[in-house]
């Protein structure tokens, strides 16, 4: 019978229509600006710079090694090194960025900068409401806009942030152990030197 297939299809449509009133499986839309789907933990959009502590300038993890700048496929990162150094979380003197710009109108959110960063400094944000009336200056983010606290990082990517903290703690312990070993070696060398000195007169 002609029309049977259409009727069968209409039954499906009717089932979906009625289902959309009570079954959340069938009505999956939300009315966006008022209502938002909670973000996924892994969601990524554009990069930001992590800082420790309360002051973003002194706590910035970036040491301006410029690896992300080189590896960025669309080359949206621009870094200028500062001549002044600052101490990092290990107490070592490191460079810091004088200028750190990311052009988010060029950035494609590929996360390669995050993967290549050896200092756990650049991470992905999940904020997506970036619309600006000025697309040139407005979308060129400077380091003061990019810097976000480690607390914020823990808020948006808890698992990843905890892992990062563990890595940094590991690095710190390694560094401390090395320092200790170095100090011990120094002490031993000193001891040996004093012994040699004290021995020297006996030789004569």
């Amino acid at each position: 019978m002609i029309g049977k297939g259409i009727l069968k299809g209409m039954m499906e449509t009717a089932r979906n229509l009625t289902g959309s009133f009570h079954d959340p499986e069938r009505l999956t839309t939300v009315s966006y600006p008022e209502e938002k789907i909670p973000a996924k933990e892994n969601a990524r959009n554009f990069p930001f710079l992590v800082y420790d502590g309360d002051d973003w300038e002194s706590g910035l993890r970036c040491v301006s090694c410029q690896i992300c700048e080189k590896e960025c496929p669309p080359q949206c990162i621009y870094i200028e090194k500062d001549t002044q150094k600052k101490a990092d979380f290990l107490g070592k003197l490191q460079f810091q960025p004088k200028v750190f710009d990311i052009d988010v109108s060029v950035c494609m959110g590929c996360q390669i900068c995050v993967e290549v960063c050896p200092f756990e400094s650049i991470r992905m944000d999940r904020d997506f409401e970036y619309a600006k009336s000025d697309r040139f200056e407005g979308l060129l983010l400077h380091k003061e806009q990019l810097a976000k606290s480690n607390k914020y990082y823990h808020q948006i990517h808890p698992t990843e942030a905890t892992e990062t903290d563990a890595i940094r703690e590991c690095k710190r312990q390694d560094h401390l152990a090395k320092e200790r070993a170095k100090a011990e070696k120094l002490a031993q060398a000193k001891e040996a030197a004093t012994k040699a000195q004290s021995k020297e007169p006996n030789k004569e």
């Binding site: 002609i2 029309g3 049977k4 297939g5 259409i6 069968k8 299809g9 039954m11 499906e12 449509t13 089932r15 979906n16 499986e25 069938r26 999956t28 996924k40 933990e41 892994n42 969601a43 990524r44 690896i67 590896e71 960025c72 496929p73 494609m108 959110g109 590929c110 996360q111 390669i112 993967e115 290549v116 992905m124």
Partner: protein, 397 residues
């Protein structure tokens, strides 16, 4: 095809208005009417992007058709020659933006061939799971678009997008992005799948057949769909093989050629699945092939999610920065949802590829559009184009 007499080449170079009609210099046909040349596109909703068809019509019948593409050309291959091997990975997402997972896989496969990197077993399973999920969402969307071209305004497409959304949610919770996943790495994947994610993937896979049944009840027996698609745009086996058509397009003509079986790349020889084949090569067969392929994909997904072993998700010696494959060349190909997707790479030992060539399935499947459309009506040409399953990001690169 020599269409120079029909259209001056200067007209061809500029994108005209949506429907540009003019009379051609050719002799009027037998019944005294003149042929009309219509330029469909590049901004025509039926062309799935910025694609133009120069159609010559006699009444409503297509007598000549020339696909014009390149409006979305963005130099993918040349850019890849100027960036590192890793830097090209996110660009491959943007080839066929429906299936970034399979694009990543094809590229990673060819680099792994080039550099001789082994992939851990768990990573192979993850790759199969993500690739089959993306095949599901590609096919379901394609059918949605195809029936929309036939005049089913929105309803099937919305149902298709609802299901696709569940798969995109999976991708987002795994990779962070819904479409531009950038997930595969040379020697594995970027991050590991969690047991919770696998459970979720299992749920989506188990829920999908019910949707497919509903979708088939909605469409497969619909008289309008049958009369619009059966016998339309038939493609012969010989022509399909000669033109290098691959994927569901080729299998709809009855040629048993699926790279998952023919090459058994990755670990596809471990799974028990069948390759659906058509017999007429018309639009309906292409529609049906996709429905059947989705059912087989579900079978593969079930096995892969069940069998996934523990282990590394990336080769422990694979490195991100300073990656330099030895001198040589490699061609890696996979069965992407649209057909054979291949990457041909030549390395001169430097961190950047010397040559980077993409073999895009939808571009090559599109080259025989005229042969399928001749003698059909304009409205059918739209459906035939829809059934080819093109993504202009991949056609134009």
């Amino acid at each position: 095809m020599n269409s120079a007499q029909a259209t001056p080449s200067s007209d061809r170079a500029q994108a005209g208005p949506m429907f540009e009609s003019k009379t051609s210099d050719q002799a009027p046909s037998l019944d005294g009417t003149e042929r009309m040349e219509v330029s469909m596109g590049p901004h025509h909703p039926s062309t799935h992007g910025v694609f133009r068809m120069d159609v010559e019509l006699e009444g409503e019948t297509v007598v000549k058709l020339k696909p014009v593409f390149g409006y979305l050309h963005r130099n993918h291959e040349k850019i890849a020659e100027g960036t590192s091997y890793l830097g090209s990975m996110p660009y491959t997402d943007r080839l066929d933006y429906f299936n970034s997972m399979t694009n990543n896989w094809a590229y990673a496969l060819s680099v792994e061939k080039l550099a001789g990197i082994e992939v851990p077993e768990r990573a192979e399973y993850i790759r199969v799971i993500t690739a089959e999920l993306s095949r599901l969402q590609n096919h379901v969307c394609l059918i949605g678009f195809l029936v929309q071209d036939m005049g089913a305004l929105g309803t099937p497409l919305m149902y298709a997008f609802r299901e696709r959304e569940r798969i995109l949610d999976l991708f987002e919770s795994l990779t962070g992005a819904r479409m531009m996943c950038n997930y595969m790495r040379f020697g594995g994947c970027r991050c590991d799948v969690t047991p919770a994610w696998l459970r979720q993937a299992h749920q989506v896979t188990e829920a999908f057949p019910r949707f497919l049944d509903e979708f088939e009840a909605l469409l497969s027996e619909n008289e309008v769909l049958l009369s619009r698609s059966q016998g339309v745009g038939a493609l012969g086996q010989d022509l399909a093989i000669a033109a290098g058509v691959t994927g569901p397009m080729l299998r709809a003509t009855g040629v048993n050629y699926d790279l998952r079986k023919a090459d058994a790349y990755g670990i596809y020889n471990r799974f028990n699945f069948r390759v659906p084949l058509g017999s007429h090569g018309d639009v309906f067969d292409r529609y049906m092939i996709r429905i059947l392929e989705m059912r087989e994909s579900i079978a593969i997904l079930r096995q892969a999610i069940r069998d996934i072993p523990d282990g590394d998700y990336v080769h422990p010696k694979a490195k991100l920065r300073g990656f330099k494959p030895p001198m040589g060349e490699a061609y890696g190909r996979i069965e992407a949802p649209k057909g054979e997707l291949g990457f041909y790479l030549i390395s001169d030992g430097s961190p950047k590829p010397y040559r980077f060539k993409v073999r895009p399935p939808s571009f090559i499947n599109l080259t025989i559009l005229e042969d399928m459309c001749l003698g059909q009506t304009v409205a059918d040409a739209v459906i035939i184009l829809g059934s080819v399953d093109i993504v202009l990001g991949e056609v134009d690169r």
